[in-house]
Symmetry: C2
Subunit: 432 residues, 2 copies
Amino acid sequence: MRRDRRAIGIGLMGLGVVGSGVARILQEKADVYARQIGYPLELRRVLVRDVAKPRACEIDPSLLTTDASALLADPEIELVIEVIGGEQPAYGYLREALRAGKFVVTGNKEVMAKHGGELLALAREHDVDLLYEASVGGGIPIIAPLKRDLLANDIVSVTAIINGTTNYILTAMRDGTVAFADALAEAQRLGYAEPDPTNDVEGIDAAYKLAILAALAFHIDARPEDVYREGITRLDPRDFAYARELGYAIKLLAISRKQDGCVQLRVHPAFVAEGELLANVDGVLNAVQIEGDLMSRVLFQGPGAGSLPTTSAVVADALDAAVSISNQVYWPHSFRREAGVALMPAGEITSRYYLRIGVADRPGVLATIAGALAEAGISIASLIQKEAGEDGGAEIVIMTHEARESSMRMALDAIAALPGVGGVAQIVRVHG
Amino acid sequence: MRRDRRAIGIGLMGLGVVGSGVARILQEKADVYARQIGYPLELRRVLVRDVAKPRACEIDPSLLTTDASALLADPEIELVIEVIGGEQPAYGYLREALRAGKFVVTGNKEVMAKHGGELLALAREHDVDLLYEASVGGGIPIIAPLKRDLLANDIVSVTAIINGTTNYILTAMRDGTVAFADALAEAQRLGYAEPDPTNDVEGIDAAYKLAILAALAFHIDARPEDVYREGITRLDPRDFAYARELGYAIKLLAISRKQDGCVQLRVHPAFVAEGELLANVDGVLNAVQIEGDLMSRVLFQGPGAGSLPTTSAVVADALDAAVSISNQVYWPHSFRREAGVALMPAGEITSRYYLRIGVADRPGVLATIAGALAEAGISIASLIQKEAGEDGGAEIVIMTHEARESSMRMALDAIAALPGVGGVAQIVRVHG
């Protein structure tokens, strides 16, 4: 039984970079989308902070409102699109919208990472759907494939480059042999990094997205605080030079992997062998590689941000929601949560490592370092020792075989205390 | 209103490489899928040609039947999975299944390419869905993303490596500097190529898949016979050497592009610049790059064939269909057909070209060739002339700027008739 319907009313919350794109495209492509869905999608209200502010997109000023409650209470609005970003007030709005029985589309990675489980349960309770394709990977379809297309698989791992800002900076550091600060300044000048870059360069943004992907891939409750996290601020041009010499790129990877019934969650810089697909994802591009027991490895790559790519994801979700609304159907894809899946403590994660150690240029130092590693049960795969510089200090670069994180920490403490060692200047995990 | 239900009955048609994988996985993962869908998926009958034949998968012999009509008439079977392959009898079975109001999942590229439009209309008429993710790209989700996730976009182009056999052969020819026949023999030995390799090496398989992708991407009726098609049999190790010298890989590309209201459809070998993503898709991997007006370029890459990757796609569709069946919902995604979209005649397609021309090693030949190209309005981007070999003949390699196909054909006729020219030994389009 379908209700007599002329259009599907949309309330848009937020009219910034993404919101303007969504408003423009919904208007420009109204005819195409109406043919697709069977009903026009009608923008009925748009929540903004300042009605008088000049806008990048043409929009009927009578649609603009600063009153969220009026939008959420409007019975003609069946679909709410939230592109405000940030935890509050967006989180509160989404709860209210779902409680009011409205379908919701959001691009809010922070809210979905922190409260996704609760909001999805709320949606289910009210027989509506909550769609969030735009929260990860911009224009790359990744949430929907995980929800539906890869569902036959037991997912083994998710390995992703999901922060365009840091990937831009790392690509610039490699290509230009420039310092982190200079690459960051250039990214800020180009608008790829924000004035306060903390969320990006410390891996917080990537951790949000990884928590969202891991929750879907492994059917677990994964939260941002569960993610072991290291940023890219300590990387040095010398590390890129050594990486190149050894045949690696350095990428900020977000990794979730199921192993022995536990799930690892970690975001950190990593050496990625040059032949690997992820080593060649450069600039602001994003890529997500998913390994499953049936399909082996599939890679999704594309623009991870930007107004139009993100609009592509938001509008695709809106069209999907509109089909559900017009058919009066609630589509409970993939709400399964598996019991008995634990998170792996960071100390138990194993990895190969790259170590760069400043040493005094005198006999015996190398032997004591090798001894400290052996003591911790860590074996050396390859080693580079460069001639002493003008300051009389030398540098040793060691690539280890697979080692447990806790063993490595023990070895690092021992090495730092050795006579003739200036300290472990750098430690980076090696992927794969 | 949902009917009282205990399970969703499945009829599996075909128990070959893919069918065995599907049967095994549906049984092995029965519990997981039942939790996902809410009902168990129950394999009720399996159509085979010979009930007595030994099978790669364990299956209850009482399920096997050689009687297609009995399977199709079984009211307990609500979902038919067809993995027989080939046009007949599969096409007839699919029509019968849809007419009987059953949901259908197929991996049959030939039937979908030749009869997809008719079968999808038939499905719509009977309020069921016809799903065919496995028909293109094996384990790579590509049909569902085109149907749903990229729907907000106007698709600009689809550029794909969608035949693993030819990609394996081309990779081997490049890496080993071996002749086509030797690379093909090796592929046959490894089971990557069939005893009769025509469908693969002549681009017929890729044309089927391109027709399926283009129909979805551009909302047109595209048929295999609409695809301009060249195979890889005429490529020579020398072409790979020149390609490497010029900074290109050679790939069999399937290209569909919308231009001036027309859609191009073509499968042919192409020079792909080494920096491009598609140049680095090697061996039996497949990749599909889709460009849209909003999301710019997104690439999907993964295993294009094989029992388990294809099973991944078939079972994902089966789970999707099962959700529709259990909700008694028909999900009419993307049946839109756009009027007024014409196919572009092959002669109007423009491209850059690589030409390899055998010439007599004497003065003036180069000038007459350049003159013939200029006469046709084609300008030369770069040129290599190698010293004469022992046979006294020399070889000229020309990279042209963008030229119309019809102009190039005119120029080729003129060049072939020139004195001192041994013939145009090779012509390959240059991508991008």
